[in-house]
Symmetry: C2
Subunit: 293 residues, 2 copies
Amino acid sequence: MLIRRLAIIGVGLIGGSLARDLRQAGEVGEIVGCGRGRDNLERAVELGVIDRWSHDPGEAVAGADMVFLAVPLGAMEQTFAAMDGHLSDDVVITDGGSAKASVVAACEAGLGGLPPGFVPGHPIAGTENSGVEASFAGLYRNRRVILTPLPSSSAAALARVRAMWHACGAEVTEMSVAHHDEVLAATSHLPHMLAFSLVDTLARMKANDEIFRYAAGGFRDFTRIASSNPVMWRDICVANREALGEVMERYIQEMSELAETIRRGDGDRLLEIFSRAKAARDRYVDGLLDSPE
Amino acid sequence: MLIRRLAIIGVGLIGGSLARDLRQAGEVGEIVGCGRGRDNLERAVELGVIDRWSHDPGEAVAGADMVFLAVPLGAMEQTFAAMDGHLSDDVVITDGGSAKASVVAACEAGLGGLPPGFVPGHPIAGTENSGVEASFAGLYRNRRVILTPLPSSSAAALARVRAMWHACGAEVTEMSVAHHDEVLAATSHLPHMLAFSLVDTLARMKANDEIFRYAAGGFRDFTRIASSNPVMWRDICVANREALGEVMERYIQEMSELAETIRRGDGDRLLEIFSRAKAARDRYVDGLLDSPE
């Protein structure tokens, strides 16, 4: 058995699904949940996702050999601070945050340093639903998990976190904190900004009722991510503001050039841009995502 | 029977599906196809979509009481010109172009004026596939068709075009040419520009292989429309450059403000923007598009 006692701080879709997977794999003894909502925690016990719970992170991590943080990015620092002084010496700590530099800073501030057991991570998985009710075993199967081990991280802790995600069927890769934050800014955070901006631009136009009425099916797919949790996205934007700010700058530059090309009716140049984008999309996205992972 | 002889200029997904629907509804006598690709036209005859064909628009429209143009926007003017002098006196002409002002201009240039039988239109329907093989009966069922009758359009011609689309199960609405072009710029053309720009921005980044590898599922949905036909989109952008240029300007302004808000880490303002977008998306898009049409 990989984990004797697992503390899940934040028992929602991400934390709950990890608990279910490890339970199903027989790789965990006891699971202690922690969160603010009593109903959600009681439901988690009923569903068998956790064995017991506490509202207090310090209490929840006592005696745990693995701690998984799945709280909003904006709550990371206070969560680390609440755990301070209650962690076992040999504990391994990892998390599911979508921006890593801010989690590292939160750990440093909250625990007063970076313990060797801390290995930041990010499972690239999720659905639009939240709460423990939305969690399910298999969420991480064949999905990528990015670990961003720090100079302070011990090899043993890294190995344990890798093993935990492998037990969930995930494909684990490693990269630096800075590179993770750049890659995610481009592939996830930027597209969300585009969708939020698009819907907001349209909502602010006159006669927006009519405008939305004529939106075709592709528009619905395109803007689905604008229905994501606003609080979570506020936290992600603030946490990853540097990398995201940079890629948004680049994107705005590209859009401005495209608008100018359209305004002067330069068909040759438009065909070049659209053909290049289509080729990249067909080659990379379909090729890489459709391939057996 | 609504139509004695229908000429379909451009026998692809849009024109082919209209032919199939009208045939199935028993509302058409003979269907004459016109296009450049011989294989596609012969296949259309094999499939029973058309009865016979010609490469020459003038020949194809001879004796027709209804003409439907489904050629690329960039080919509209030459198609109208090729039809000139071959049209019956009582013919009704409509089309499926995604930008209407340019089709009206093409008709005026190609035919030397706007005949009373001309009623521009735009079925809001389609798939990512093209060619007569991709056409099917039912494409227009419960979909919206926007007609943009002109001051020159006769009431009789408008009634016949409405009846034709009703026979396909479509919901027909009317608006002005200018308003159509604004609404479509916002709901269809702009989202396509965002997707093309996003993919192109990422493709131009260093290490873009890796970047696409970590793109999550939402990214694939989001960028699907970047796989659309580049020639078609070049034509749409050139045809609708005024309305599209204006809405792109507005969007770039909104994105620039958002980037600035992110850079200064203004969480309250971000939450306000994302909440408004989520509310608009949930209210309009799901509400209006999920409702039985």
